[in-house]
Each structure stands twice: as structure tokens, then as C-alpha cells.
């Protein structure tokens, strides 16, 4: 290989000496190809008279491409416009509030948050006078931020009368829907049934229907209720 290249280079030098007016484009093309295809390279280098023809042709073609300029410009504008339109269309389809909300579209996350919030609501809104600490443990596990104080307020009455009245409050989520899911934040609508039993009054039981929305936050891999909205009730 090296011998061939050497030969080629020598020949090229000779050729260059012969025709000083060699087109620069020719020389350039000859070099990289010289390594692989020396015989192809040889031809143009050897015949400087032939080289002059393309050079002369080149000047002629240099006047010919000029009418192409407006065509290329028009094409560029047209294609550029197409590109812009495509990107605009794509982003308007993608970056909507619909798509940023992954409730139901992200099945795994949707059921994950549904499962945890169901468990959380059942636990934090249930109270048994024989084991009141369970409610507190649940609150510590499942509540965060504003929800802690809201929960304390909502259960204040039950807790203060719990021992005396021997109260058992049990809450069961019956329907739950994820309204919004975006990364580590979610908003859910909850329908729950509550049964309140006072063992003092000979098992006096009352049931009530509850509805509220909660916001949930994912902290350290676990969903927690961050706030409770009881629709001003």
C-alpha cells in the first residue's frame, strides 16, 4: 500500500509541476481517494490537459447554477415552513394540560395512588376507643403538610368524646377517582361511608355519606395525603 501511495504522490507532484493551473478541487479529491483507489486517481492527475477541461467547464457551470439559487431559496423556505408547521403541530398536540395529566393514561401510577389513598382514608378516618393510638399511627404514616392539622381538626370531637362514649368510627372508601396525576402530585375525589357506633348507648349506630377531595404527594416513594378539601363543610 505504502509503495503505491508513494508512487501516486510522486506522480501527482510531477503532474502538478506540469500543470500549475490545476484546479484545486481536483487535487483535493485525489488525496483521500488516493489511498484506496490509486489507479482511478492516476487518470486525472496524469492528464493535465483533461484537467483543464473540467476547470473550464467549471467556470461555465458557475454561471449556470445561478438560476438555481432562487429555486433553492424557495425550496428552503418551503421546507423550513413545513418543518416549523410540523413542530408547531406536534407541540400543540403534546403540550396540553390533557397530556400533562397522566390520570388513567399512566395505569400503574393511577392504581398505585388509588390504592394508597384508599388505605390512607380508611385508616386515618377510623377510630376505636380501645386503641386510639392506631388513628395517630395512621396519621403519621399517611398524612403530610396541611393535612395533619386538618385531620386533627376533623377528628377532634371524636377523639375528645371517644373514651367516654366508647366510640368506634369506621370509614370505608366506596368510590375513588384520580382527577389529576402529574409526577409526584395527585388530586383525587373520594366517596366514603362512615359508621359511627357508640357502645355506651347500647350500640347506637349511625351511617353517613362523605365526599371530599384530597391532594396527594409522593414522598420517599410513598404517597401521602397532603390536604383535604371537604367543599366548605
Amino acid at each position: 500500500m505504502s509503495t503505491t501511495r508513494h508512487l501516486v504522490n510522486r506522480q501527482r507532484r510531477l503532474a502538478a509541476a506540469q500543470s500549475v493551473k490545476e484546479a484545486p478541487a481536483r487535487t483535493k479529491r485525489g488525496e483521500p481517494e488516493g489511498d484506496r483507489k490509486p489507479d482511478r486517481d492516476r487518470k486525472p492527475d496524469r492528464k493535465p490537459d483533461r484537467d483543464r477541461k473540467p476547470a473550464a467547464k467549471g467556470t461555465r457551470t458557475r454561471t449556470r447554477p445561478l438560476p438555481w439559487l432562487p429555486i433553492l431559496a424557495a425550496l428552503t423556505i418551503l421546507l423550513g415552513g413545513t418543518a416549523a408547521w410540523g413542530f408547531a403541530k406536534a407541540s400543540s398536540l403534546r403540550d396540553t394540560s390533557s397530556t400533562s395529566n397522566t390520570a388513567l393514561t399512566d395505569n400503574a401510577r393511577t392504581s398505585e395512588v388509588k390504592g394508597t389513598v384508599t388505605k390512607a382514608v380508611d385508616a386515618v378516618f377510623s377510630y376505636d376507643h380501645t386503641k386510639p393510638e392506631q388513628t395517630d399511627t395512621a396519621a403519621r404514616t399517611y398524612l403530610t403538610g396541611k393535612a395533619v392539622a386538618q385531620h386533627r381538626e376533623l377528628l377532634a370531637q371524636v377523639k375528645s368524646q371517644g373514651k367516654k362514649q366508647k366510640l368506634v368510627l369506621s370509614t370505608t372508601v366506596t368510590y375513588l377517582g384520580v382527577q389529576r396525576l402529574q409526577g409526584d402530585r395527585a388530586q383525587l375525589l373520594v366517596y366514603a361511608d362512615q359508621t359511627n357506633t357508640s357502645t355506651v348507648k347500647d350500640g347506637d349506630t349511625s351511617s353517613s355519606a362523605a365526599m371530599f377531595s384530597v391532594s396527594a404527594k409522593r414522598q420517599a416513594g410513598a404517597w401521602k395525603i397532603a390536604s383535604i378539601n371537604t367543599f366548605d363543610r
Binding site: L66, W68, L69, L79, Q179, D193
Partner: protein, 175 residues
């Protein structure tokens, strides 16, 4: 040695760049337009909007403008619910007129719980506050836990079933 920069070459390079961008933009648009999850998300939001509006419509009625009110009811419903509404219309009209009742509803919150985009079926939860004002009684409001089912029609999503979430007692001793 650098190749001579001619206007034609510059233009060609620009055109090639534009062509690449156009192909990229086109594919990007095509991908976005055929993005199933984006279409699903759009349907979900349409279902919620239709569900909330439908529940609001079906919980609103003024005895002084009963024809318009019931026309709105029927335009929000389809399937079984529509059949039910049409069947009970005469009796219901009489009832509302004699009680002189004005019912208004405010949607508090709503969520889509199920969506089968292909089948065109969906379920929603809509929490509403309903205020009833009758000639005899003082206006009273109550909260209602509505469950709705929607079906896709040529005219958009419409309610095909409507009910109130039942109160189930955990101990079985409830109402």
C-alpha cells in the same frame, strides 16, 4: 484544501438542512397525532367535561321554564337514561309544576373513574350541591354523590346512566 464556498453550495446546504428539518418536523407531528396516550388523555378530559355538564344539566330545573329545562335534559342524555327521561316526562312535569320547584346544582368536583376509549364507554364521579326551592318549603341544599356512565355518540359524550352512590354501612346496620 477547503472546497470553494459558492452561493449555490451554501444554498444547497441550507436546502438540505431545511429538508432534514422538514422530515423531522413531519415525523414529530405524525408521532404526536398518532400518540395513543395523548388521544386517550384528550378523551378523558372530554368525558369529564361532558359528565360534569350533563350532571349539572340534569340537576337543574325551573318549573317556570320546564320545556327548555327538559329539552336540555334530553340533549344531555342517551341510551337507557334518555328512554327513562322521555318515559317519565309527563308525570315529572306535573309534579314539578304543582310543587313550583326550582332546582339548581353546583358541581363541586368530578373525576373519571373508567374509560374505554375504543368502546366509547366511561364512568364518572361528580360531587354536586343541589339546592331545591319549592313554594312551600324554604330553600334547602344537599350534597349529592353522583355516579354517571357516559356513552360516546355522534354528538359527543352523553350520560347513559345516572345514580347516587349508595350508602353502604360497614356493619350492615346502616340505612
Amino acid at each position: 484544501m477547503p472546497r470553494a464556498i459558492t452561493p449555490t453550495r451554501t444554498a444547497l446546504a441550507l436546502t438540505a438542512a431545511a429538508a432534514t428539518a422538514a422530515i423531522w418536523g413531519g415525523t414529530s407531528w405524525y408521532a404526536a397525532a398518532n400518540d395513543d396516550s395523548a388521544a386517550f388523555a384528550k378523551s378523558r378530559d372530554e368525558v369529564l367535561a361532558a359528565g360534569e355538564q350533563g350532571v349539572q344539566n340534569l340537576q337543574t330545573l325551573d318549573y317556570r321554564d320546564i320545556d327548555d329545562g327538559l329539552a336540555t335534559w334530553e340533549s344531555s342524555a342517551t341510551g337507557d337514561l334518555l328512554t327513562e327521561l322521555k318515559g317519565g316526562r309527563a308525570d315529572f312535569e306535573k309534579q314539578v309544576k304543582s310543587a313550583k320547584s326550582v332546582t339548581t346544582a353546583k358541581v363541586l368536583s368530578g373525576a373519571v373513574t373508567e374509560l374505554d376509549d375504543r368502546a366509547g364507554k366511561a364512568s364518572v364521579m361528580v360531587a354536586v350541591r343541589i339546592t331545591v326551592d319549592t313554594a312551600k318549603e324554604k330553600p334547602g341544599s344537599k350534597e349529592s354523590r353522583i355516579l354517571g356512565e357516559l356513552t360516546r355518540t355522534d354528538d359527543g359524550w352523553k350520560l347513559s346512566a345516572l345514580s347516587e352512590a349508595p350508602v353502604e354501612s360497614a356493619t350492615g346496620a346502616g340505612q
